[in-house]
């Protein structure tokens, strides 16, 4: 058995969707009920780490619009999906950061083995705008400092696995790895929690060697965009490998035996210090009924794999 967790935002149920569309009076209690339900499902699936399903977040960045001098702007497409997020104008120094993410989580509902999903500083800077920081590298480093404050608060609240999703690193043909590294150093130096950098929406085959050198506990890789054959060519000795093999972008349910065999094979080739099996990205791309099946399947697969 290896450990497991899910990434990002979960889908809303049909009931919750209707409530959000009419801005129902009991929306807050419906959000809470749905969070409780999803946490129970993750426990039932015996996932190694449990997360807040973030069903009350409009997108993965929106809570940060509560910071002074951060304003939501126009809609922008999430990479190549049919989903959109609001671009943020990041015009302040983020001096009031530190408790934004925690205040948007149902921390009290989570068990001790809790994880949280944030966006890595490079990606964060890549997909938003700033009049204060004209250069993206300066913005990324400033975001990293802001995120470090947030993460310190989360670690104090018991979050021992920090997911840093990094789709821009995967998607962009050219990446400033020096900025990525400097920003991650700000986040992880002396941090008493595991940090996993997750890649999806792009093939990282040609970037993998550089990424293995990043100051994080490990890498998470979406196997629908980066071929498994590419991952197997690398040694993960001294690193954690999170295998994003349960597909959040298709309703088709994975075959447990097929994936267990594949994961065992990946682990034997890459020899990571620790291995996880995860979804490849946010479950919100599926309707709830299918997302729940995927969570349960994820747990089954994790239990079927030999330890790393």
């Amino acid at each position: 058995m290896i450990s497991s967790y899910t990434i990002g935002i979960y889908p809303r149920s049909e009931k919750l969707i209707d409530a959000t569309r009419t801005n129902a009076k009991n929306l807050a209690s419906l959000y809470l009920a749905e969070k409780k339900e999803y946490i129970v499902i993750q426990k039932k699936a015996r996932l190694g780490y449990v997360c807040d399903p973030l069903v009350d977040w409009d997108d993965i960045f929106r809570p940060f619009s509560k910071l002074k001098s951060v304003k939501p702007e126009a809609l922008n497409r999430v990479y190549e999906t049919n989903t959109f997020y609001r671009k943020l104008a990041l015009d302040g120094d983020f001096a009031d950061a530190g408790n934004i993410v925690k205040s948007h989580l149902a921390v009290s509902l989570l068990p001790k083995n809790r994880t949280v999903c944030l966006v890595d500083p490079y990606t964060f800077a890549d997909v938003h705008v700033s009049s204060r920081y004209r250069k993206k590298d300066e913005l990324a480093l400033s975001i990293a400092k802001m995120l470090r404050k947030e993460i310190d608060t989360l670690v104090k609240s018991g979050f021992s696995l920090i997911q840093l999703v990094a789709p821009s690193i995967a998607y962009n043909p050219k990446v400033d790895f020096s900025t990525v590294k400097d920003a991650l150093n700000i986040i992880t130096k002396g941090l008493k929690a595991k940090t996993i950098l997750h890649f999806y929406f792009g093939d990282i085959t040609k970037k993998l060697e550089r990424l293995l050198d990043m100051p994080v506990s490990g890498l998470g890789i979406d196997t629908t965009t980066t071929p498994i054959s590419s991952i197997k060519k690398h040694s993960f000795s001294g690193k954690t490998l999170a295998i994003g093999i349960v597909n959040s972008y298709n309703t088709k349910l994975e075959d447990k035996h097929e994936l267990v065999t594949e994961i065992n094979n990946i682990i034997s080739k890459t020899k990571p210090n620790e291995a996880f099996v995860t979804t490849n990205f946010d479950l919100q791309y599926l309707p709830k009924e299918f997302a729940v099946r995927k969570i349960l399947k994820l747990g089954e697969i994790a239990r079927g794999v030999k330890s790393a």
């Binding site: 049909e14 997108d59 049919n82 088709k252 599926l286």
Partner: protein
């Protein structure tokens, strides 16, 4: 009877497709107490209202604001064999769409736009352009559990659904078909699949083919090299939402339209329906701004006869009052542009 337009009229105006549904129509169609016949009558009334509004505003080419379609994806999927709705997924914030799974072989059941088209044909005086959701977008917005590859699915949809649908519409008298492909450029590496999708969809079709593709972040640079190879006489595209609101016909003011030059460089010789109206904001463009966008486009393409004028996309995201005002200004701007070039 459709009015035959003078062949020499430049900058003909058209809509892209959808308008926001009137609240009274939604109240009727969502009310379980109201009979099927009364709902059908309400849809006819809404369609008629849109047709008359669009004609009164002066658009040269019209449809019915897609008054009776649920939405551009869900509507066709309801009538295609092989699809099963999975549930709603989020587009953004509290907006969702009903996404379907493909669980068996795709198949065409019936001309699901026949009643709609016949009603418009009987009631419209101006030219009609029929919007049809394209195979590539239908595939891209669905969960494929059946086909081996996206290409296989797209080709199946093009050959087995879109082509027979378009053929049936042409048999009923449709002269202009617009293949709606909002997903067209969202995956730049799949442009060859998109090319095949359109070409297979319109193979053997005797009608003017228009392709509408939304802007997806790469400024149509991915589309440009394929345009000459795609069997479309016209593309209706988004430009206004990336342009400035300043008057003028220089590159500086008209930065949203620079890519038109690229189309020409790649050898595209057809028409462009230029989006001159931003459908994401309530602010109304001025007639002079519309004029300048048209004149810049005519110069960039090197031939005013190749320029058609439309909003960037469907106006369903705007209130009806804003949408009609934007269209009115667009028609006036086109007239101003014609006067400027002496057409």
């Amino acid at each position: 009877m459709q009015e035959e337009l003078k062949v020499h009229k430049h900058f003909q105006t058209q809509e892209i497709g959808s308008l926001k549904k009137p609240s009274w129509l939604l109240n009727v169609v969502k009310n379980p107490e109201i009979s099927k016949d009364d709902k059908a009558r309400a849809r006819n009334d809404a369609a008629l209202l849109n047709i008359k509004m669009l004609e009164d505003i002066g658009l040269d080419i019209i449809y019915d604001g897609e008054a009776r379609r649920v939405e551009m994806y869900e509507e066709p999927v309801r009538y295609i064999k092989g699809f099963e709705f999975a549930g709603r997924v989020r587009s953004w914030d509290n907006k969702y769409y009903n996404k379907a799974r493909i669980t068996s072989e795709i198949g065409y059941k019936q001309n699901f736009h026949a009643d709609e088209f016949m009603f418009i044909k009987e009631n419209a005086k101006h030219k009609i352009k029929v919007p049809v959701t394209g195979a590539y977008t239908l595939a891209d917005w669905s969960y494929d559990e059946y086909y081996k590859s996206k290409e296989d699915l797209v080709i199946a949809l093009a050959r087995k659904v879109v082509r027979p649908l378009v053929k049936d519409l042409v048999k009923l008298g449709a002269k202009i078909i617009q293949i709606d492909e909002p997903a067209a450029t969202s995956h730049p590496l799949e442009m060859d699949i998109f090319r095949q999708s359109v070409n297979e969809s319109v193979k053997g079709i005797n009608a003017k083919v228009v392709v509408h593709a939304c802007f997806s972040g790469n400024d149509y640079e991915a589309l440009a090299p394929y345009m000459p190879e795609i069997k479309a006489e016209q593309y209706t595209l988004e430009f206004a939402n990336r342009d400035t609101w300043n008057l003028g016909v220089s590159d500086k003011e008209r930065k949203g339209y620079h890519v038109l030059k690229l189309f020409k460089e790649y050898g595209f010789k057809g028409e462009i329906g230029i989006g001159v109206t931003d459908v994401h904001v309530d602010k109304i463009e001025t007639t002079k701004l519309i004029r300048d966008r048209i004149l810049y486009s005519a110069k960039a393409l090197g031939d005013p006869a190749k320029v058609y004028v439309n909003p960037d996309c469907g106006l369903r995201t705007r209130s009806r009052a804003v949408a009609f005002e934007k269209l009115k200004v667009m028609v006036e701007g086109a007239e101003l542009a014609r006067q400027t070039i002496g057409n």
